[in-house]
C-alpha cells in the first residue's frame, strides 16, 4: 500500500518546501491519495472518531489546566470554580469528563471491530499491539484524571487501585509507597497524577502516529478480510471518499456526545464524587468509572487461593492478565481466515464474548453478594466468575481450537469481485 507517491507540488513555494521537508507530501500520501479498500463499512469510522476525541480531550484538558489547582485543599473547589465562574467553564468541564467516556465507547467499538474482522492478524500484528498500548495508556490517563477533582470516588478509587499494587509479592509495598510518594494517597500523589495526566495524552498522540504508520504499511483491512490486490479496482483514494464518510460518522457521534454534554452531563458519573474527598469516611460502594467495570469484575471474581497465590494477588494477576492476553492475540488465533463473516461458528463465540464483556461490566457495578435479577442463590460473584472463565477461555482455548477445526465459508476472489457481485 505504501507505493509510489503521486504528490506533485505545483507552486514555487511548495516545490521549495517539498525539497527541504516533504511534510505536505507525507500528508498527501497518508490522507489524500492513500488507497483505501472500497468496501469499508461504518465500523471503520471509529479510528477517525478516536482521533477527533483525542484532540477534544487535549484541547479541553489544556484549558481546564489553566484553572485547576492540584492541591488537596483547593482541587475540589477549583473544579467547582471552573463549573460556576469561568466563562463557559461548565461546558468545557462537561466536555472533558464526558469526552473521556465517549473516547472509551469509541475505543471499545474500534477494538471489537478488530476482533471480528481479524484486523490483528498478519501482517498487522504490530498495528494491533500498538493499539493495545494506546488502550493501556488511555486507561492510565483516565484513572489519574478521575483522581484530580478530589471527590470521594476520586480519592477512594485511587486508594483501592493503588492498594492492589501492594498485593505483588516482595516489591508490592515498595512500589505502592513509591507511587503514592507517601504513606497513602495524598497531596504528593495528587500533584504527580496531575503532571502525568497532562503528559500521557501526548505520548498517546505519539503512539497513535506509530499506529497509523503501522497501518499504512499494509494498508487498511476490510470487512471481507481479503487483501487489496489491485489498488485501482479494489481501492479508492482516502480523500474524498473516506474523509466525507468519516466526517459524517464523526458528526453523528458528536450529536450523541452533545446530548450527554448538554442534557445529561452527570449520568455517567457517580454522585459521591460531588462530595469532597474525606480520608476518614469510605463511601458505601466504591465503583470505578464504567469503562473499567469489566476489569473490576474480573479482579473481584478471584476469591480463592491458587496454590501459593492468594486471592488478592490472584485477582490482580487476573485483571492485568485480561489486558495482557490481548498482546498475544495475533498468535493465539490460528485461523487462516481473517473476517468472521466467513467463520460462522467462531462468530457465535464472538457474540458470546461481547455479551460476556458487557456482562462483566454489569457485574462490576454490582455488589458481588447481591443476587442476579433477584434469583436466590445466584450471586453476581458466580456470574462474574463464569464470565471471567469464558473471557480467558475465548482467547486461550476457543480461538486456537476453532481456527484449526472450523471449515470456513468460501471467500470471494477479490474485493472487486465481491463488490461487483453486490452491485
Amino acid at each position: 500500500m505504501s507505493g509510489h507517491s503521486t504528490y506533485e507540488p505545483k507552486t514555487g513555494f511548495t516545490r521549495w518546501l517539498d525539497s527541504r521537508l516533504p511534510i505536505v507530501r507525507l500528508g498527501w500520501d497518508s490522507f489524500v491519495d492513500f488507497p483505501t479498500p472500497r468496501n469499508l463499512n461504518y465500523w471503520w469510522t471509529f479510528g477517525g472518531i478516536l482521533a477527533v476525541f483525542l484532540m477534544i480531550q487535549i484541547i479541553t484538558g489544556i484549558i481546564l489546566a489553566m484553572h485547576y489547582v492540584p492541591h488537596e485543599a483547593m482541587a475540589f473547589e477549583s473544579v467547582e470554580r471552573i463549573r460556576r465562574d469561568v466563562n463557559f467553564g461548565w461546558m468545557i468541564q462537561s466536555m472533558h469528563a464526558n469526552g473521556a467516556a465517549f473516547f472509551f465507547v469509541a475505543v471499545y467499538l474500534h477494538m471489537f471491530r478488530g476482533l471480528y474482522y481479524g484486523s490483528y492478524k498478519a501482517p498487522r500484528e504490530i498495528l494491533w499491539i500498538l493499539g493495545v498500548v494506546i488502550y493501556l495508556l488511555m486507561m492510565a490517563t483516565a484513572f489519574m484524571g478521575y483522581v484530580l477533582p478530589w471527590g470521594q470516588m476520586s480519592y477512594w478509587g485511587a486508594m483501592v487501585i493503588t492498594n492492589l499494587i501492594g498485593a505483588l509479592p516482595f516489591v508490592g509495598d515498595a512500589i505502592r509507597e513509591w507511587l503514592w510518594g507517601g504513606f497513602s494517597v495524598g497531596q504528593t500523589t495528587l500533584n504527580r497524577f496531575f503532571s502525568l495526566h497532562y503528559l500521557l495524552p501526548f505520548i498517546i498522540a505519539g503512539v497513535v502516529g506509530l499506529h497509523i504508520w503501522a497501518l499504512h504499511v499494509p494498508g487498511n483491512g476490510n470487512p471481507l478480510g481479503i487483501e487489496v490486490k489491485d489498488t485501482k479496482k479494489d481501492a479508492l483514494p482516502f480523500h474524498p471518499y473516506y474523509t466525507v464518510k468519516d466526517g459524517f460518522a464523526i458528526i453523528v457521534y458528536l450529536m450523541i456526545f452533545a446530548i450527554f454534554v448538554f442534557f445529561m452531563p452527570n449520568v455517567l458519573g457517580h454522585a459521591d464524587n460531588f462530595i469532597e474527598a474525606n480520608p476518614l469516611s469510605t463511601p458505601a460502594h466504591i465503583v470505578p468509572e464504567w469503562y473499567f467495570l469489566p476489569f473490576y469484575a474480573i479482579l473481584r471474581a478471584i476469591t480463592f487461593d491458587i496454590g501459593p497465590i492468594d486471592a488478592k494477588l490472584g485477582g490482580v494477576l487476573a485483571m492485568f492478565g485480561a489486558i495482557a492476553i490481548l498482546f498475544v492475540l495475533p498468535w493465539l488465533d490460528t485461523s487462516k481466515v481473517r473476517s468472521m463473516r466467513f467463520r460462522p461458528l467462531t462468530r457465535w463465540f464472538f457474540i458470546f464474548f461481547v455479551l460476556a464483556a458487557l456482562g462483566l461490566g454489569w457485574c462490576g457495578a454490582k455488589n458481588p453478594d447481591d443476587y442476579v435479577l433477584g434469583m436466590e442463590g445466584f450471586k453476581f460473584l458466580y456470574l462474574a466468575q463464569f464470565l471471567t472463565l469464558y473471557y480467558f477461555a475465548y482467547f486461550i482455548v476457543i480461538l486456537p481450537v476453532l481456527g484449526i477445526v472450523e471449515k470456513p465459508k468460501e471467500r470471494p476472489a477479490s474485493i472487486e469481485a465481491a463488490v461487483l457481485g453486490n452491485a
Partner: protein, 270 residues
C-alpha cells in the same frame, strides 16, 4: 441498519452506567416528584427558587453552610434575583441588601487591618454565604457529633437528586418498633440506614413567605429543593439552551455531510 446497530451497541455500553450509580443501602427509593426544571426543556421556577432561598436562610442556614455560593450568584444569569436593570450582579441592589443583612462580620480571615486583626465589615455581593460554624469540629459539637453537610452540591451529591431531598424532608414518620435509634436520632426511611441526626426541619406555617404563598411543609420542602437544585447547577438553563442550538446545528451539518457523502460515492461500486 448497520449504523443503528453501532449506535445501539454504544448506548448499551453507556447504559452500564445506569447500574453503576450504586444502591443507597437499604433506603426507600424516593418517588419521582414532578419538577419544573426536569427534562431537556426544563427551567427553574424562579419564584420557587426565591422562596427556597428564604427557607434556606430562615431554617437551614442555622446548621448547613452553602460554601460555594456567593451572594452575586443570586443576581447572575439564571439566578432567582436576576434583573435586567443590573446586568452586572455585583450592582444588583437587592443582592446587596441581602449581603448587608448579615451585618458587620469577618468575611475573609485573610483581610487584615492595620492593627493585625481580621477586618469586620458589611457584606458585599462578592462574599460567599457565611457558614454557621467556623469549622467541622464546632459543627459536630453543636449537632451531637453529626456534621450537617454543606448544601452547595447536595442535589448532585445524592442518588435521585431532587427527588431524594424532597422525600427526605417530607418523609419523617414515627419509627417502627424494631428500629434502633440512638438518643438524638430520628427515623426517616429515605435516609440510608433509617436513622438520621437531623430533626424534622420543616413544619406547616414555620415561616411566612414574602410572596404570600401558604407555607405548608410540602411547599417549603419543594421550594427549598428547587433552590438547592439551582445552587447545585446554576448554569442549567444556559446549558440546555446551548444544547438545543448545538444539536440543531449538528443535525443540519449531518444532513449536509450525508448528502455530500452520497454525492461523492454516487457512481462508485462499493
Amino acid at each position: 441498519m448497520k449504523m443503528f446497530r453501532i449506535i445501539a451497541a454504544g448506548l448499551a455500553a453507556l447504559g452500564l452506567s445506569a447500574t453503576a450509580s450504586a444502591l443507597e443501602g437499604d433506603a426507600h427509593a424516593p418517588h419521582a416528584h414532578h419538577w419544573h426544571h426536569a427534562g431537556p426543556f426544563g427551567t427553574f421556577d424562579r419564584h420557587a427558587v426565591q422562596r427556597g432561598l428564604q427557607v434556606y436562610q430562615e431554617v437551614c442556614a442555622s446548621c448547613h453552610s452553602l460554601n460555594l455560593l456567593s451572594f452575586r450568584n443570586l443576581g447572575e444569569r439564571g439566578g432567582p434575583l436576576e434583573d435586567e436593570r443590573w446586568p452586572n450582579a455585583n450592582d444588583n441592589l437587592i443582592v446587596m441588601q441581602i449581603a448587608e443583612s448579615y451585618g458587620e462580620r469577618v468575611w475573609d480571615r485573610d483581610e487584615i487591618n492595620d492593627d493585625g486583626d481580621p477586618v469586620s465589615r458589611l457584606g458585599i455581593p462578592a462574599d460567599r454565604f457565611p457558614a454557621p460554624f467556623e469549622n467541622e469540629q464546632i459543627a459536630r459539637g453543636s449537632n451531637g457529633g453529626a456534621l450537617p453537610p454543606d448544601l452547595s452540591l447536595i442535589v448532585k451529591a445524592r442518588s435521585h437528586g431532587a427527588d431524594y431531598i424532597y422525600a427526605l424532608l417530607t418523609g419523617y414518620e414515627d419509627a417502627p418498633h424494631d428500629a434502633h435509634l440512638a438518643p438524638g436520632q430520628h427515623y426517616n426511611a429515605y435516609f440510608p440506614g433509617g436513622a438520621i441526626a437531623m430533626a424534622p426541619p420543616l413544619s406547616d406555617g414555620l415561616l411566612e413567605y414574602a410572596d404570600g404563598t401558604e407555607a405548608t411543609l410540602e411547599q417549603m420542602a419543594e421550594d427549598v429543593t428547587v433552590f438547592l437544585a439551582w445552587a447545585s447547577d446554576p448554569h442549567m438553563e444556559a446549558r440546555k439552551q446551548m444544547g438545543w442550538m448545538v444539536l440543531i446545528y449538528l443535525f443540519i451539518f449531518a444532513i449536509l455531510t450525508y448528502l455530500a457523502y452520497r454525492q461523492v460515492w454516487a457512481n462508485v461500486k462499493h
